[in-house]
Structures are given as C-alpha cells and as structure tokens.
Symmetry: C2
Subunit: 278 residues, 2 copies
C-alpha cells in the first residue's frame, strides 16, 4: 500500500516569483526517498480563506500526510494557523505547551546575546503559541515558532515554518521517523542514463516497450534543451518492497532500454549512474 502525502506551501513570495520553492523540492525529495508517494503540491496566498479552502480540499482527498510550510511566524501575514483553525472549524487558543516553548526560545536568545532585559511575551510572540484547539506544538530546534501537529483520523497534518533551516530540522527530527514507520519496508530507487543521437519522439515507443516488460518501473525522458535536441536524460524509478529487489528491477530495465536505443542508432553515455538507494 502506498503512503500518500500532499504539501501546501503558503506565501505570496512563492506566487509572485520572488522566492523559488526550494522547500517543496527538499520535502519532495526527502519524502520520496523514504518511499512516500508525493501526490500534490499546492501554493496559496497569505489569505485566511485561501488557506482554509486548500486545507479542507486536501483533507477531503485523504492523503495519510499533509505538510504545510510557511506562515507560522509573528507577523500579521503569518495566517496559516488561522486558516487551519477555520478549515477544521476549531477555535484558536493559547497553547500552554507552545507558550513554554516560545518563552524558552526567548530566554535562550537573551542569554546568547547577553541581554540584561527580559524579552517580554509580546502579542506577536504569544501569536506563535496560539494554535487551533486540540492540536499539538512540535519543537522547533532552530527558530522560535513551534511546528503544529494534528491527527485527523487517517490524515496527519503538520504545519512547518517557511524558514528552510527550521522546516528541515522539524522534518528530520519529528516527521521523517513517522513517515518511515508508515511506509514500512517499501523503498524508492532511481537511476539515470543519458542518450545521444536520438529524438524524444523516436525514443517514445522504446520506452513504452521496456515499461510494459518491467511492471512497476517508471521511465521518464527529459530532453536537455528543446525537444528537437539530441540529448535526453532518462530517469528510471521504482517503489517496491526490499524483497522484490528494486535495484535489480531498474538495472534490468536499463539494460533492455540501452539495447533498444543502440539498435535504433542512439548512443547511451552512462548506463550505471546510481543516484540514490534507501
């Protein structure tokens, strides 16, 4: 059984082209490497109703995991928790565990910077500890705003900060182990090879043939430059149980494809470029 995950990335800066969505890329790679099936990424504006709508839509599709990024900070435009609260029809309330986390971060900050004054729990700081009812804060090892965890009967939702170092630390510390357990002994493997002297449109039927003969192996061609260039990257992936020997499945498919490509006038420049195996 596959474990499905969706991402919701919140932030105008991602929509207006100011910020490249490296968070979605990083999370997609991590989750895929753990054997998770990443189904969708949706990017929405910092508007409560937009966030509430996409959270509700995503929950209806029933992925096992939903991860949101962005909008947990102290400023007015950090609206993720308000949006989640609205989607779940729950009130926002000061979460005492979260407040203790924020206070601890402020004290740590004052100590590190040798400030004599106490950093007050101002409204913007209390905001970071104001969570939808019946949700749990998740320790943020790097920044102030805690992550948020909520179990929705079959779907687990995590809200993570948008600052990459904070998002990555919470994912690695808290979410990755949960994904690993949910996935069980399924592994994801991938390999790449590069073809020359061949148009993608001539390659298409060869890929079809190899995919039909190798159930479970997914082969995708990426022309380097425009379609009428002669260089193509071939990316082979498989998600399977370890006992099904997924790497051997990939190697067999690559060998078959190499033979077909060469028989049709193409050249294979590297047929054993192992990228990743978990």
């Amino acid at each position: 059984m596959t474990v499905d995950m969706e991402m919701i990335c919140i932030g105008n800066e991602l929509l207006i082209g100011k910020t490249l969505n490296t968070n979605a890329n990083w999370l997609g790679k991590q989750a895929t490497d753990l054997g998770v099936n990443v189904k969708r990424i949706t990017v929405v504006q910092d508007i409560v109703d937009e966030i509430a709508n996409i959270v509700q839509e995503t929950i209806k599709r029933k992925p096992q995991f939903i991860i949101t990024t962005g909008g947990l900070g102290p400023t007015f435009d950090d609206k993720t928790l308000e949006g989640i609260a609205k989607a779940l029809n729950r009130k926002l309330e000061i979460n005492q565990k979260a407040l203790a986390m924020v206070r601890e971060k402020c004290e740590e900050y004052a100590r590190k910077n040798q400030l004599s004054t106490i950093i007050e729990l101002t409204p913007p700081r209390v905001k970071m500890a104001t969570l939808p009812e019946k949700t749990e804060p998740v320790n943020n090892p790097i920044g102030t705003a805690p992550g948020v965890y909520v179990d929705l009967e079959g779907t687990v939702l995590f809200a993570l900060p948008g600052v990459p170092s904070e998002m990555e630390a919470i994912f690695t510390g808290t979410i990755a182990p949960m994904l690993k357990q949910a996935v069980g002994d399924r592994v994801f493997c991938e390999k790449s090879m590069f073809l020359h002297n061949m148009l993608e449109s001539n390659l298409a039927p060869l890929i079809d043939k190899v995919m039909s003969a190798n159930k479970g192996v997914y082969i995708k061609s990426h022309p380097m430059g425009a379609e009428n260039k002669l260089h193509i990257e071939i990316h082979l992936t498989v998600a399977a149980k370890a006992e099904e020997k997924p790497m051997e499945m990939l190697e067999k498919a690559m060998k078959q494809l190499s033979i077909l490509v060469e028989a049709n006038g193409g050249k294979v420049s590297s047929n054993a470029n192992l990228i990743m195996e978990t």
Copy 2:
C-alpha cells in the same frame, strides 16, 4: 479589477524533488510584473485523472487565466492533453493546424542536421498534434510540441511545454500580450529594505501600523536565517493604477517604517533598493 491567474504544473519530477520548479517561479514573476494576481500553483503527477481533476477544480474557481506546464511531448508520460480533454469532456483529435506545425518542425530539423531521409510523422509525433476538440495550437518557436489555447467563457487556458526555453518563448510571444491587455493600466511595483538589530516579533506591530496607514501597500517580512536572527528583509508591494502613483505609495510606506524601526532601536541598511517597476 484584478486579473487572476492559476498555474498547474504537471510532472512527477517536480513532486519527487528531482527538478526544482523554476517554471512556476519564472511565470509567477512575469505575470506579477504585468500586474496579474497569481492565486495558486498546483503541481500534480503525470496521471490523466489527476490532471483532469485539477483542471476541473481550477476552472470552477474561475480565474481569468490558467497556464499548465509540462506533459505536451511525444512520450507516454506526456498526458496533459488527455487530462484536459477529460476535464472538458471533449474528444482528442488530430488537429490539422498542429500537425502542420509539427511537420514543419521535423522538416526544419532535417534541414538543420542535413539529414537526407525525411523524418516521418510517427505516432509519437502525431501525438503532439492530437489536441482536445475545439482547441487551438499555439506556435512553439523553439521545440516541436505546439502549445494549446482554449477559451472557456471567462477563463482562458494555455497548455505550455515543460522545457523552460519553449515555455518561456510561448509565454513571451503569445500570452504576455494577452495578459497585458487584460490588466490594462494597472502596474505592480515592489521595493525591498533590510533591517538589522531587530527581532521579527518586535517588528510585527510596526508593520501593522504602516500597513493600516497605507491602504493597498502590502508589507512582508522575511527573516534571514531563523526567526531569532537579527536580520530581516522587508518586501513592499503594491498593484495599482499608474495614476495612483504606486511608486510614491511604496516610498511613503518605506519612509514611515524606517522612522518607526529606528525609533525602536533597529537599523535600516538600505531604504531605496528599487527592484522593479513596470
């Protein structure tokens, strides 16, 4: 009136973290610079039903423009047109105008590479000219697969190839002029400034104050590093008619914020860093 746009990016490589979604970033920046309100980006897998579902969902939200990227090529995993056809409940059929475009590209390719044999219109090449009924091919100045255009009463949908150079060429040549006309004399302006010696949580109420006093100006803070670092980028944006003098609106808001920040112990390192004005 704002002109809303949504993007649908199709491709497993974007979900598994193999490819960074630079297409969405580029399109978001271009459309925003033209004064368009980019509402959502959704990334989905190369699965016909996934594509059909997101196209239907997006049409229901009635943005004036929908742009899809990816999945127009010749291989089996290029499923965008099949997905769009299903979403619109239209048949796929060989489009003679598109077929002429593909043929012309093949002949051009043969000429450029001084091939003596004619490049045949094989099934994978015909596939690139197989469009949903009542849609129009759009000339691809760089690659083989034409873009696709369909007017859905209030919503215009463009399907673009995923190869960045091809996507960019079609956008610039065909879509940008349409967006410009739809937007009219609205312009988008942005400015950035950098603050030091200030926590984001102390800055939050100052931003609130300036935004309340400057209707239409949107101010977003981006901590550099983690939240408890002292460096923050402030990004101010406004979309307004030229006669409302949007640059002056931004400058006024920046000046007010600078004064507040300095009165609260912060430092402003650059308050006139003009990034872009259309």
